[in-house]
Symmetry: C2
Amino acid sequence: MPTEDSISQKLEESSKKVDPLINLVLKPRRPEQLYEAARHIIEAGGKRLRPYLVLKSCELLGGDQKAAIPYAAAMEILHNFTLVHDDVMDNDPLRRSVPTVHAKWNVPIAIASGDLLFAKVYEVIIREKTGQMPCDKVLACIERLTDASIAICEGQVMDISYPGTENVTESDYIAMVGRKTAALFKACAEVGAIVGGGTKNEVELLGDYAWNAGISFQIIDDYLGVTADEKTLGKPIGSDFREGKKTLIIIHALWNASPDDRQKVINVLGNAQANHKDVESVMKILEKTGSLIYAKGQAKTYAEKAKKRLAKFLESDSKRDLVELVDYFIARIR
Amino acid sequence: MPTEDSISQKLEESSKKVDPLINLVLKPRRPEQLYEAARHIIEAGGKRLRPYLVLKSCELLGGDQKAAIPYAAAMEILHNFTLVHDDVMDNDPLRRSVPTVHAKWNVPIAIASGDLLFAKVYEVIIREKTGQMPCDKVLACIERLTDASIAICEGQVMDISYPGTENVTESDYIAMVGRKTAALFKACAEVGAIVGGGTKNEVELLGDYAWNAGISFQIIDDYLGVTADEKTLGKPIGSDFREGKKTLIIIHALWNASPDDRQKVINVLGNAQANHKDVESVMKILEKTGSLIYAKGQAKTYAEKAKKRLAKFLESDSKRDLVELVDYFIARIR
């Protein structure tokens, strides 16, 4: 089992390589408000998992991490673009313990600064091309991250437009989080692998690794949203229920609860007025249906699938780091 | 003077070449609502000026229009992405005589479908690369359109965040519309020129042509917003005043009116309650200050600058088309 300290240190080392370029691309210029808003969520923190995945995938294939830095920066900027717009769409007031962009400024600034971040994804890649990387490979990377961006839009709209949580199946859930979360992890590994000089098969294997890792990451994210205490969570317990969030846990419970229990869960879902007692009763039903255990099990299954995709690569520090990353996804408590 | 019929026919011919590719890239797929929303404003019409500019710039340099079609499609998609998001930011209910995306669906769908369109800009270029165009040129085109996207975000935020119309100078105005409108025209001509095999100097000249043309286009847009009748305008007369829109006409009037008149104009600007009489009184002040005539004169000056940039190119049908385009910008009545 990875210790949170060990992985934290590695993530920090990687972000020390990538953050200066992010800061450079988003350095203050006219209109200052736009650039300040664009830097806001990035500066507020975040684990920098995606740049780490780019650098480690590149390294695994014997590539020079330096060549992957612009791509690592691009993927973190892309991730933050989606956060800024998602927060508007979901009307979330807080992110990384600071007010979201639309809450601190307003919706127009949040839309424009998200758009700016999206454009900066491409700028950082094109501006920083050292000339060492053949241009067909640059285009291949742009293709992967563009596909991921399209998938993210699709996943977000699936999330906000599924008719009602009670009809969502596990396969709908995977289709949704596969696009919303896992597609970007996949693109990070693919881009890192392309920069690292991977063969078509290696790029595909690493992409599959990261896609499966991404699914397990999201399931655990949902799990923590239900089980973590208020302080770790940064929002009241039961928020995910009140927001009607479509998590694997809830989907499993709805398909496996008794008709009475099912109705009780439905009554709480998306009900902003649900009180502590309502939330407690849902928690009890989740225990009865074994939905928490089921979700954790599914997260582990996807994590195992992810690790299996690494089997063909020779043992190395970077391979161990990629295995450790997935183990951390499962073991993490925040 | 170009007849509106002549240019309309040419724009239609050009859009017949480009629209099928736009439709292909945005064809219905899951989630259908997202793709329907993404097609909504594009299908509602529009002059397709930007694709025309791409194709004609390519043709001017002896390039094959066919090679420029993906780029022409990309630029029209990019333009429509900015319209969808701008409509949310400006809270506009109508565009091209149909409800805007956020009005027909909702703000989250408008944000997500705008984001999708932005990603599709890159997809259409990368997917449709025939292999005939060297990849360094593909990257050069991506660079130009990415720069334009960044400029558009900057221009939009300048527009919505300038402290108050009464302090905006003509040079602020040019900085703003240079980014919001002219940068995309410029990128269209540059991209067309790159695809057409233009030299660095030719790309620059055509970019300058289109930037100046874009400024003149925007000034006339503002002019028509004040002088056109309600039917042509599609919204009540005086709307631009009530919305506090920062047009060259208003900026000129504020700098040239008597203190009393200046105050009268300021009182109407951004005042949603301003009545017909208020609007009439502003119109009278604009006549006194000669601001309408001044703006039209400036539009003509930029149009002349644009045409001068074409001087070094040999006479050809496409050169005449590009000259005609700028003449049309000035002469148009809608």
